[in-house]
């Protein structure tokens, strides 16, 4: 892959050879000028017919059509264009596309540049390039399916959320009970700050921390019958238990068939509310703080107990869907940017770089002052190519975004298709959207033409 760089710029090669090719005109073809014309028509005819019928004529037709209504019989003037900028989903599409234009070409170009520069420094650069470039061969649609699966919300199935979960778990772990509440007004508070016993407790006394609102699935496995605590001198003993049994039971009293909750974080808070001791309840939900100094304390169920497990980021939900599609898109196109920029890098003369280094320039200076400026034309080509691609983005949105969030992920090309063929079937508005899209690429079109004219 790397060596292909030297064989390429045919554009440049073409321009160079062109002088030689056209200087003294063609030699006379057999059959005179008419034979020559017929020959030209033969070579050019098929392409000309196809371009006129499938590109030029439809473009003009679409332009005209955009001034007519849904079924094409009534002239509506600029009504479709007004609708284009006032309809909700279309506004979303334009805004989203603006975000795409602002974010993606710059990111793809920078990532491509970073990869291209870094791969030059490792021995397995070619293998790396193939890996990153591979998604280019895959359809944007299939790439979207791949990422749709990657983005599944359940961390047990979606790889992206599973990866986040691994990182998340190293910092905090889920609590044993996520929805429990105090069983009596005596035990009150919030899951975020913990549930605190209202009356204070002294060493030698006991504390009952009854909890309800625990679904059977959350009762720790192998939970045993709760026992009322026995007071001991110098210690604060207590029980945390599921203060509920079939039929109800009396709140605040440990009764038969009520299960002790093991693994609950229990805190002993002093008068100022600071947790002085923290332990976890043991078998049958029993806990005891031994050797407590004299004074009054308030036992509490610590907030750790209520920590919700990581439920997964909703990548495919309405809020994150556009960034999610962008990530998938960048994954596809980074390889393109990398390969083109790497070819540009390879074309920069080693001697110039060496000369700069001999003069004592640091690697960063070499990059800033020599490599980057010489690479500027290539970077701008990549950037502009991506700009056009991003304006036309379509398939990947359809396959990453589930139907429910397609309105939130909408982009211009998708809006054009959905308006024209996706059930609404408004060819007037659809044409207006297409014309709008066309107008957006006109600057690039002009740029291409100017560059060509300069070369000849």
């Amino acid at each position: 892959m790397a060596d292909s760089a030297s064989t390429v710029p045919p554009a440049a090669a073409g321009v160079h050879a062109r002088g030689a090719g056209t200087d003294d005109g063609p030699s006379a073809a057999p059959g005179g000028p008419w034979g020559q014309r017929a020959m030209t028509a033969l070579f050019l005819g098929p392409a000309a017919v196809m371009l006129v019928v499938w590109l030029v004529y439809p473009t003009l037709k679409t332009f005209v059509r955009s001034f007519y209504g849904r079924d094409g019989s009534d002239w509506v003037g600029l009504e479709n264009y007004r609708a284009l900028f006032t309809t909700d989903t279309l506004q979303t599409a334009i805004q989203n596309n603006a975000i795409w234009v602002g974010v993606v070409p710059a990111l793809v170009t920078s990532i491509g540049l970073i990869f291209a520069v870094l791969t030059e420094r490792v021995r397995w650069g070619v293998a790396f390039k193939i890996a990153v470039f591979m998604p280019m061969a895959i359809s944007l649609f299939a790439a979207g399916v791949i990422w749709h699966i990657m983005y599944t919300q359940d961390p047990g199935q979606g790889a992206v959320n599973a990866a986040i979960n691994v990182v998340d778990d190293t910092f905090s772990s889920a609590g044993v009970l996520t929805s429990a509440q105090g069983s009596t007004p005596e035990l009150a508070g919030t899951p975020e700050r913990g549930l605190v016993l209202k009356s204070s407790v002294r060493p030698g006394e006991t504390a009952l921390l009854g909890l309800t609102g625990i679904p059977p699935a959350q009762v720790p496995e192998g939970a045993r019958q709760a026992q009322a605590p026995t007071p001991r001198p110098g210690a604060i003993t207590g029980t945390t238990w599921r203060d509920f049994k079939p039929g109800g039971g009396r709140p605040g009293v440990v009764e038969p068939q009520e299960l002790g909750l093991e693994g609950v974080t229990v805190q002993l808070r002093d008068a100022s509310g600071r947790a002085v001791r923290t332990i976890k309840s043991g078998e049958g939900g029993a806990f005891s703080f031994e050797g407590v100094k004299a004074g009054s304390y308030r036992p509490a169920v610590g907030p750790e107990t209520f920590q919700k497990p990581f439920a997964g980021v909703s990548w495919l939900g309405p809020k994150l869907i556009t960034p999610a599609v962008m990530i998938a898109y960048i994954w596809v196109w980074a390889g393109f940017a990398m390969v083109v920029i790497a070819a540009g890098l390879a074309a920069i003369s080693r001697e110039v770089l060496e000369a700069a280094r001999t003069d004592g320039a640091t690697e960063w200076q070499v990059f800033r002052r020599v490599t980057a400026p010489m690479l500027a034309p290539v970077l701008s080509v990549v950037f502009i190519t991506m700009l056009i691609n991003v304006l036309k983005v379509f398939d990947i949105v359809l396959s990453v975004a589930p139907g429910s969030s397609q309105d939130d992920a909408n982009v211009i090309a998708l809006a054009m298709w959905r308006t024209s063929f996706g059930g609404v079937n408004d060819f007037g508005l659809g044409s207006a959207i297409a014309v709008f899209l066309f107008l957006l690429v006109i600057p690039v079109l002009a740029l291409n033409v100017r560059r060509f004219k300069r070369e000849t």
């Binding site: 045919p10 196809m50 649609f141 379509f394 959207i433 291409n448 000849t456």
Partner: protein, 278 residues
């Protein structure tokens, strides 16, 4: 000693690039593993768990895929469209590319500027008029209709690429052929096509991948004529229940262009560079 030092210094860079390479390979690999999970377990299992117990992998999903008439038909349709339009495009573009490179005719440069202008025209501007055209002729919902659309939209790039390559063919060769009395057609078939093979190969691979991977054109002009992308798309509308079909179908649909790409990547990259360094 020096090499040890070098290896240590390079370790962070290598590690970083390894992680990046993994990020680029893992998603596709994940799709492949998903396609190997038995139908009943697919909704319960993360695909990475399958690695730990290879015995649970199965190709049953692929068997079901190839037993599914809609999907096998879609694969055949995809191949017909991709191969057919590529051959036609290469031929028409080569003819025109030769005319722009070596024939003298009035307005040649002006016309070529038009071709360059057409390079960036989004196909959305043609969707609606061509829809009406196809409906009033018998091209709607046919392989031929899809092929012609793809050829037309592949032409600006194809003509551009081939003209730039043909123009670089040494003038001496052309001159001596003409002096020997060879006709333009002889020159085209005996000289230009063989000498232009690298560029033609680039164009062919490009167009093949582009049309194999197309969704929007087939979605617009096909009903029963469905290539694989459209077939998967209609399955995707009921996503979740039938991932055991979507995963292997997606993998098959990307395995073929991937194989083409890996086999001919040199030409692919050449075409890419020629197309973008314009």
């Amino acid at each position: 000693m020096a090499t040890v030092l070098r290896v240590v210094r390079r370790a962070p860079l290598n590690l970083f690039l390894l992680v990046v390479a993994a990020m680029w390979l893992v998603p596709t690999f994940g799709l492949f593993l998903t396609s190997l999970i038995p139908k009943g377990e697919i909704a319960r299992e993360g695909w990475w768990n399958v690695v730990a117990k290879p015995s649970s992998m199965t190709f049953d999903n692929y068997r079901a895929l190839f037993d599914n008439n809609d999907l096998t038909k879609a694969l055949v349709t995809t191949a017909e469209i991709a191969v057919g339009n590529t051959l036609l495009l290469v031929f028409i573009a080569a003819l025109a590319g030769y005319a722009f490179a070596w024939l003298e005719f009035p307005g040649r440069d002006g016309l070529f500027v038009v071709v360059i202008g057409l390079l960036v025209v989004p196909l959305q501007v043609a969707l609606i008029p061509i829809f009406s055209l196809y409906n009033s002729t018998s091209l709607f919902d046919t392989v031929l209709g899809l092929i012609l659309f793809h050829v037309a939209f592949g032409l600006p790039f194809g003509i551009f690429l081939l003209r730039n390559f043909f123009i670089g063919i040494p003038k001496d060769i052309m001159e001596s052929a003409r002096i020997d009395g060879a006709s333009e057609l002889t020159i085209f078939f005996k000289l230009i096509l063989p000498l232009g093979l690298p560029a033609i190969a680039s164009l062919a691979i490009f167009q093949f991948l582009w049309t194999w991977n197309d969704l929007i054109v087939a979605l617009t002009y096909g009903r029963d004529t469905q290539p694989i992308t459209v077939a998967i798309f209609s399955q995707l509308r009921q996503f979740g229940s039938n991932i055991e079909l979507i995963a292997p179908a997606s993998f098959v649909s990307l395995a073929i262009p991937l194989a083409v790409f890996l086999a001919f990547q040199r030409y692919f990259v050449q075409g890419l560079l020629a197309g973008s360094v314009k």
